[in-house]
Symmetry: none
DNA sequence: TATGAATGAGGATTCATTCAT
DNA sequence: TATGAATGAATCCTCATTCAT
């Protein structure tokens, strides 16, 4: 990043690297601690002091890296969404070429997988509205966009409004997944759940296609 | 609730009634105040002091009627769920005799209507987990049960597991409705939303029926 | 205030009085404590916790009566200014009829007396700018107005701009008094100080009168 | 200030000079930054971290050159007083020979000029008591001494206590100037202000002289 | 019963200062 | 020497809850 600067600013380039490493470690410790507390004890327990304590860091350090409590939650949400998105994205590539009846089951499996990244944290962040709502919504928006694109890629479907369909399906599936995770977390592994979601989606797509010439 | 208890000790039952009326008024004032604050200013603003102040009641009185803050939220949730349930129930009676293609649209309309009872409060209560989650879930359980019963009443559907179907459909529809209410509240009136939900449900029921051969 | 209300609100009018007395006592305790700390330990020591502690009151009570720390300082300043003003006002009545050469010494004596109300607190409040500046200025404004009025009452003075003269004299005398109080507090009792101020004022008035028909 | 010390230990004095230059630059940067923040954002904003940041220097370096925060303020005050004193001194030389009626206007003009060096900073430093009071007072002491000397240089005045007169006049003029600068900063340019101060001083000197043929 | 004054633990945040590198 | 990460005491303020009247 700064390989060009000649000597100056006290020699060894190791210095800077070491410092950056320490900073990074602190930030990671804080985020990890925050996530742990949110998962295990819930949002009210996640005070800045508690986070700093569990991170093994002074409260001052915490504020050196995060402007305020909300910034911690936001960053946590951002990373969580990024993880979920990457899990989902990973499965997407191979979907494009498949026929619908094969693609949808895979998509549902991918969605379920993405919700398995950290279900508890996901639920908590979903409920911490002012802090993380906008960020969490990004995942649903992403899923909706991707779904709409997929629908558009299958013109044989004759869906009039792919955006609407994408949104509805994403919200519906999201509702099922979040409720399941919160109330019956073990069922997230039940194949019946996945099957049901596939039926939900395929059924909707059928219905939403114009009764057409058939 | 306790009208049966025989006039214990002190005189005229008129007095007692008056007192009970006053008590009731106090309780109502507190709940109304709490609901207003939750709706308009959010959960953080709903401190016991703020609730008492808006209710025009001393905090002392508030604690006379509610053991703690959570009890207020819980009672509020209970009543809210009751209202939603009654809206939904009202529409149910006439559904039973209808053919599915007619019943489902009506059911969706009723569900939407029940979510229109107090959407903001509904959202807030849904997010106040430890306080109201269990109570709020009752509505979804009720809707799921009702849906399962409806499905069972249509044996031509050949749905293997009506309970699962009821749960999935309820969670899916609930997800769509809550997301819509939170992010795009005006769309709750859009007929396209209702249409989509009908497609979602009918499509699922189609799919979940055994692949013909019946 | 509420003598009309029949019974209701739990009888005894003693109740309300007692409560008000308690509230008043708390408020007074807080203000007294704040004044003491400001005088003895300076502005930095006057934290809300320290004030509450010295007042023998919980921090919660402090905030029941004062919205924030600044409100305490402001009320203190308000009262201090009021006291100073009343000392000054008290001396004013008898001044009006006197000839200038007799009036000015009395006015100076009164000003000095008003600064003796609580010199230390006065100095501290004068330096706590955002909190109390505007309020403290009221005293100087009052003194300036009064002086200007006095000047106008002596048309033989031929002072062109009584307002300016009032302001200059007040600021000059204020400067002398505050510096003296801060740096050489014992001199506030020195008759030479008073004499000097009289000379300052009379000399200025002489000079500020047009060389006139002399 | 310390150029005399003989080259101690390490090599070439060129290096030492360079280092000293760098040190000096750092010190200057810190003081400049502190002054800027004090002027523009007030004393509370002038944290050591903020000063270091604006100076483009690490806090570590800041503490290399200043023992603590107070030392920065003190040095700032020292320099500020020095500047004011030099402005005032510059005007003094030519005053000595002048007759009083000519000297006083010039003196007032010089005092005003010295207060125009950095009025905002002056006001702030005046209010930061424990840190800078003693230092700021030096200017007033200087002005008082100079004034007393001037008075003594005019034996025709017959002032009994030139020291007292010097102090009173300095404090009075200081009071007017500081109040004006704080509350009506634009008036510092108003010629009427200067005129008034001249009248104040000359009037006082008149009055403080024995009634002549007495 | 109703009242509302009082409580104090706890939360977010700041800032002077230290010290390993 | 310079750096800047780390520290933690201290600050302001909130809020659920208690209890004397």
């Amino acid at each position: 990043m700064t390989s060009r600067r000649p000597a100056k600013k006290t020699a060894h380039k190791g210095r800077r690297t070491a410092i950056q490493a320490r900073s990074k470690a602190t930030v990671e410790a804080i985020l990890t601690a925050a996530a742990q507390i949110l998962e295990r004890e819930g949002p009210e327990a996640a005070s800045t002091n508690a986070i700093a304590a569990r991170a093994g860091v002074s409260i001052g350090s915490l504020y050196q890296y995060f402007g305020d409590r909300e910034a911690i939650i936001a960053e946590l949400a951002r990373r969580h969404v990024e993880e979920m998105r990457s899990v989902l994205s990973g499965a997407l590539a191979e979907l494009i070429a498949l026929p619908l009846a094969a693609a949808i089951p895979r998509l549902m499996a991918a969605l379920i997988a993405s919700h398995r990244v950290n279900p508890t944290l996901d639920g908590v962040l979903h409920r911490m509205m002012p802090e993380s709502a906008a960020i969490m919504d990004e995942f649903e928006d992403f899923a909706a966009t991707v779904t709409a694109a997929g629908i558009r890629a299958h013109p044989d479907l004759h869906i009039a409004d792919p955006e609407l369909a994408g949104a509805i399906l994403t919200q519906a599936v999201g509702g099922v997944l979040r409720t399941t995770l919160r109330r019956y977390p073990e069922r997230i592994l039940d194949p019946a759940l996945e099957r049901s979601l596939v039926q939900l989606v395929l059924g909707y797509l059928d219905r939403a296609s114009p009764p057409a010439a058939g």
